[in-house]
C-alpha cells in the first residue's frame, strides 16, 4: 500500500529538491568549516551532533531493530528445536508409527496419537461446517445488506466474541451448553437423525459435538472479520457493473463479490481451521477426555491440545513426557503449515490484486 503511495509523492516532491540545495549547501559548508571553532554559529547543529547524529548511532540503532525483528525467526526456530530435542525419546522409539497407532497406555509405556488426531480433525471440521456458513452470512450482511447505522455496533459485537477468553467459553459451555446438549439438542438429534449412526450411544452432554459447537462459536469472529475485510477490498465498480446488468442484490453479491474474493475467503476459513486445531481450554473442558475413536458424535473424545493440557503436568516417566511433547511438535508443525497457506491466500487477495476481474 505504502509503496504505491510513494510514487505520486516522489513525483510531487520532485520540484522541491531543486531549490532546496541552495539554502542547504551553504549551511552544510558552514558547519564543516565551523565544526570545532564556532559552535554557536548553528546551535541546532551543535545540539543534534551532541545527541548522536552519526553513522555509528544510526547503524547501531538499525542493528538493534534488525535484531528484534530476527528474534521472531529465533522464536519459531527455538520452539521447533526445543520440541524436537525433548521429544527425541518418543521419536526414536515409535518413529512415524506414532501417528497411526491407537494405543495410549502410560503404565506400560505404549503410546500412539491416532485417537487424538481423529478427535482434533473431527471437532475442527465439524466446527468449520457450523461456523463457515454463519460467518459468511454475517460478513455478507455487514458489507452488503446492513443499514449503515447498525454496521459499527454489530461488527463491534462480533469482535467482542473474539475478545472473550477461551476459559470463559469453557466455563459457559460446561454449565450452559452441556446441560442444553444433554436434555434438548441431543435427544432431538437422536430422534431426527439417529438413523445415520452419528448420534448413537449414551449422551452425557460432553463429547465431540459439544466441543465442535463451542469451537464454532470461537472461530466465527476470525472468519467473519477477515471475510469482511476481503469483501471490502472488492472494488465498487465490480458491484455496479453487475447491478447495471440487471442482477438482483444476491446475484450481485454472488457474481460480483463472492466470486472475486473466493481465494481470500478460503484463506480466512483456513485461518479459522488453524485456530480450531490448536484451541485448548474450552475443548478440554467439554470434550470428555477419553482416547477413543467412535463414529458417534455424542461419544467423548480427546484432541491433541487437550491431551497435553490434561496429562502434561502429571506425566510420570521420560517416555510419557516426550510422547506428549511429540504431540505438541505435531500440533506446531500442522498449525504452521495451515497458517502459512492461509496467510498466503489472504495476502494474495488483500495485498496485490484488489481489482482482479474474472
Amino acid at each position: 500500500m505504502s509503496s504505491t503511495r510513494m510514487t505520486p509523492e516522489r513525483e510531487s516532491r520532485s520540484p522541491l529538491p531543486v531549490p532546496s540545495p541552495l539554502p542547504n549547501a551553504p549551511a552544510a559548508s558552514s558547519t564543516d568549516a565551523a565544526s570545532g571553532a564556532d559552535a554557536s554559529l548553528s546551535p541546532i547543529r551543535d545540539f543534534l551532533s551532541k545527541r548522536g547524529s552519526g553513522r555509528l548511532a544510526d547503524n547501531s540503532f538499525a542493528a538493534v531493530m534488525l535484531l528484534c525483528a530476527c528474534s521472531i525467526f529465533a522464536i519459531v526456530i527455538f520452539i521447533f528445536g526445543i520440541l524436537v530435542v525433548h521429544s527425541r525419546l518418543s521419536l526414536m522409539q515409535f518413529g512415524w508409527k506414532f501417528f497411526t497407532r491407537q494405543a495410549w497406555d502410560p503404565v506400560s509405556g505404549d503410546f500412539g496419537a491416532l485417537p487424538f488426531i481423529y478427535g482434533t480433525i473431527a471437532t475442527s471440521l465439524l466446527a468449520l461446517c457450523m461456523a463457515v456458513p454463519l460467518a459468511l452470512g454475517v460478513a455478507v450482511f455487514l458489507t452488503e445488506l446492513c443499514p449503515r447505522p447498525l454496521r459499527a455496533p454489530i461488527s463491534f459485537l462480533t469482535e467482542l466474541l473474539a475478545a472473550i477468553p477461551s476459559v470463559v467459553y469453557g466455563l459457559w459451555a460446561v454449565f450452559v451448553l452441556v446441560p442444553l446438549m444433554r436434555d434438548v439438542i441431543g435427544p432431538f438429534l437422536y430422534k431426527t437423525l439417529g438413523w445415520t449412526g452419528f448420534f448413537e450411544g449414551p449422551n452425557f452432554g460432553v463429547g465431540l459435538l459439544t466441543a465442535s459447537m463451542i469451537l464454532a462459536i470461537m472461530i466465527l469472529p476470525i472468519i467473519s472479520s477477515l471475510t469482511r475485510d476481503i469483501m471490502n477490498a472488492v472494488p465498487n465498480s465490480q458491484r455496479e457493473a453487475v447491478l447495471a446488468l440487471g442482477a438482483t442484490r444476491w446475484e450481485m453479491i454472488r457474481i460480483g463479490v463472492l466470486r472475486n474474493s473466493r481465494i481470500g475467503i478460503v484463506g480466512a476459513v483456513m485461518l479459522g481451521l488453524g485456530r480450531a486445531l490448536g484451541e485448548t481450554m474450552a475443548v478440554t473442558m467439554v470434550i470428555g477426555n477419553h482416547p477413543d475413536i467412535s463414529k458417534s458424535l455424542f461419544a467423548p473424545g480427546y484432541t491433541l491440545a487437550s491431551v497435553i493440557a490434561n496429562e502434561f503436568s502429571e506425566a510420570t516417566g521420560d517416555l510419557y513426557l516426550s510422547a506428549l511433547i511429540e504431540i505438541g511438535l505435531a500440533l506446531f508443525l500442522v498449525t504452521i503449515v495451515v497458517n502459512a497457506i492461509a496467510r498466503l491466500m489472504v495476502w494474495a487477495v488483500t495485498r496485490n490484486a484488489p481489482a482482479r476481474v474474472n
Binding site: 509523492e9 516532491r13 545527541r51 538499525a62 520452539i79 520440541l83 459485537l157 491440545a305 493440557a309
Partner: protein, 279 residues
C-alpha cells in the same frame, strides 16, 4: 419472480446468521452477569481461596498474580514487538528479509498457545526444576510479540513520508526520526496494538498451565509458582464444588470486564487518536 424470491431468501438467511452469531454472545454475557455478579463481594477482591468445604474466600492472589505475570510479559514483549515493527516499517521497506519477518510473525500468531507453554516448560521449568512466574511471563511475552509487531508496522505505515523527510531534511539522524517523529506520530495506534495484545494474553490459560502453574496462596517471587486468574477459573470450573463454581463465574466476570474495558477504551482511543491530516 424466482430471482427476487431467492434474493429475499438469501437476505433473510444472512440476517438469521447474524442473529445466530449475536445470540451466544448475549447468552454468555447474560450468564456471566447473572451468575457472576451475585458472587462478587468485597472478600472476592481481598481474600485468598478458602479450603474445600469452607465458604467464602476470594481470588485476590490470582488477580495480583495475573498482574505480575502480565507486567513481566509486557516488559519483555512490548519493546521487542515495537522494535521489530520499527524495523519492518522504517528500515526493511521492500526487502525480502522484511517480508519473511512479516510472514513469520503472522504464522507465529497462529501457533497454539499450549505449544508455547510446553516450549517454555522445556526451556525454563525443566532447567530450574520448578514452576515459576518468570516462565509464565516469558510464555505470554512470546505470544504478544507478533501481534505488536504487525500493528506497529501497520501504524507506522500510515505516517506520511513528508513528515519523516522534513525531519531528515533538518539533519535529524534516522534513528531519532524513527523514535521522535514516526513512533510519536503513530503512538495512538501503537498503544492500541499493545493493549489489544495485552487483552489477548490476559485471558490465556493454556501457556500458564505448565509455566506459572497456579498457587493457592500469596506469592510475589518470580521464581515461585504463582496464581493467575484464568488458571484459577479453570481449576474451579472443573472442580465438583458449587462454592468453587460460584467463584469461577465471579472470576470470569472480573476477567471479562477487565478485557472488555481495555478493548472498549482502545476503540475510543483509536478513533479519537487516528491520524488527522495524514495521507
Amino acid at each position: 419472480m424466482m430471482r427476487t424470491a431467492i434474493n429475499y431468501l438469501v437476505s433473510g438467511l444472512c440476517i438469521l446468521a447474524t442473529v445466530l452469531v449475536i445470540l451466544p454472545l448475549i447468552a454468555i454475557l447474560f450468564y456471566l452477569i447473572y451468575k457472576g455478579a451475585s458472587s462478587l463481594n468485597f472478600a472476592f477482591f481481598t481474600r485468598i481461596p478458602a479450603p474445600v468445604g469452607e465458604s467464602g474466600g476470594g481470588m485476590a492472589n490470582s488477580i495480583v498474580g495475573s498482574g505480575i505475570i502480565l507486567f513481566l510479559a509486557s516488559l519483555m514483549g512490548i519493546p521487542i514487538g515495537i522494535a521489530a515493527g520499527v524495523y519492518l516499517a522504517e528500515f526493511g521497506r521492500g526487502k525480502a528479509l522484511a517480508t519473511a519477518v512479516r510472514f513469520t510473525a503472522d504464522v507465529l500468531n497462529g501457533v497454539p498457545s499450549i505449544v508455547m507453554g510446553i516450549a517454555i516448560y522445556s526451556l525454563i521449568v525443566m532447567q530450574q526444576k520448578h514452576f515459576s512466574a518468570l516462565a509464565g511471563g516469558v510464555a505470554l511475552a512470546i505470544m504478544m510479540v507478533p501481534t505488536i509487531t504487525r500493528t506497529t508496522e501497520e501504524m507506522l505505515a500510515t505516517v506520511p513520508h513528508a513528515i519523516r523527510e522534513a525531519a531528515l531534511g533538518l539533519g535529524v539522524p534516522k534513528w531519532r526520526t524513527a523514535i521522535s517523529v514516526s513512533l510519536r506520530t503513530a503512538s495512538p495506534g501503537i498503544i492500541t496494538g499493545c493493549m489489544l495484545a495485552f487483552a489477548r494474553v490476559a485471558g490465556e490459560t493454556a501457556p500458564l498451565l505448565f509455566t506459572a502453574f497456579g498457587n493457592q496462596f500469596w506469592s510475589f517471587k518470580l521464581s515461585e509458582p504463582i496464581a493467575a486468574l484464568p488458571l484459577q477459573i479453570y481449576v474451579y470450573a472443573i472442580s465438583p464444588y458449587d462454592e468453587w463454581h460460584r467463584l469461577a463465574w465471579a472470576g470470569s466476570l472480573v476477567l471479562i470486564v477487565l478485557i472488555m474495558v481495555s478493548v472498549t477504551l482502545v476503540r475510543i482511543f483509536a478513533n479519537r487518536g487516528a491520524l488527522k491530516g495524514g495521507s
